[in-house]
Symmetry: C2
Subunit: 173 residues, 2 copies
């Protein structure tokens, strides 16, 4: 019986690897993005800040880009291309008014990060992702990957930026 | 002679403590802000992200707030007031267009962090700063503290926000 249970765990784990990745903490199973198989990296919210973005127009978002230690070292050292293992995560939030700031300044001029819109992940693996500049891409909403059509747009959008190793974001001082 | 040298070092160190703080790395001496004596905390650029802000109007800035581990734990645990030792640093940058994003989207709609404008620091010490809600404030430009007139404005601006322990920034998801 105990052996059966172990076998069952093994099978479930294998199913997990195919469509999901069981995270090291074991608390959550993240579904992998189509095409690239990229998942939301564990602990990304603790990563160091690269920079921030304000997207006007249809987006009306505030964004922050965080990097794992490999990415941050490359940025700070000014080394391109990024080494394998570098991961950049972009947090996209709805841009909402800041009651606090506006009250303090007596003007409606301040906006802050509101609810999360989506999360984008770039993973550097020059062999695995050789066809897309060495980067794998993942787009997630509420922790779930967007569909293949969304992911087909990632690299064409980044392709013109070979000079910065296909990365938009520059490191903020 | 060696004893003289030691004495001299001691005197220089004492002078240092009065107007400056010799950083643990020994590489730089940071001048302390007037009124509060707050200095730029070592390694703050490695701290975790709290949230981001867009200030329109006269500011035209993008901002990010980072917290030390004590501050981040308090935010994530929803615990107010912040415990002593909590430090929040706000990085204020000029908001500049993003050539990369605008090219990728075919629209002039993206802005990113440009040159640093100033850096603001809030340090929680409920005894030392009892008269100002338990917070000491520091405003720095190019690593140098702004004058006393600037620092006199800090607490009056934060005073209405007792409910959030005088802190404007909310933690972004």
């Amino acid at each position: 019986m105990r052996r059966m249970a172990f076998l069952l765990v093994g099978v479930v784990t294998m199913i997990g690897v195919a469509g999901y990745v069981v995270t090291p903490s074991g608390h959550a199973a993240e579904e992998a993005a189509p095409i690239y198989g990229v998942t939301i990296p564990q602990g990304y919210r603790d990563w160091k800040l690269i920079s921030v973005t304000h997207e006007e127009g249809d987006f009306n978002q505030l964004r922050a880009q965080l990097g794992n230690d490999i990415a941050i070292r490359a940025y700070r050292g000014g080394k391109l291309p990024f080494p394998d293992g570098a991961i950049i995560v972009a947090l996209h939030w709805k841009r909402i008014p800041s009651e606090e700031d506006n009250k303090a300044f007596g003007k409606a001029q301040a906006f802050v990060a509101g609810p999360a819109v989506n999360l984008q992940v770039m993973v550097k693996d020059s062999k695995k992702y050789a066809a897309t500049g060495g980067w794998g891409f993942g787009d997630f909403k509420d922790g779930k990957p967007s569909d293949a059509a969304v992911h087909e747009k990632c690299f064409p959008c980044h392709a013109p930026f070979k000079a910065s190793d296909y990365v938009f974001t520059r490191y903020a001082p």
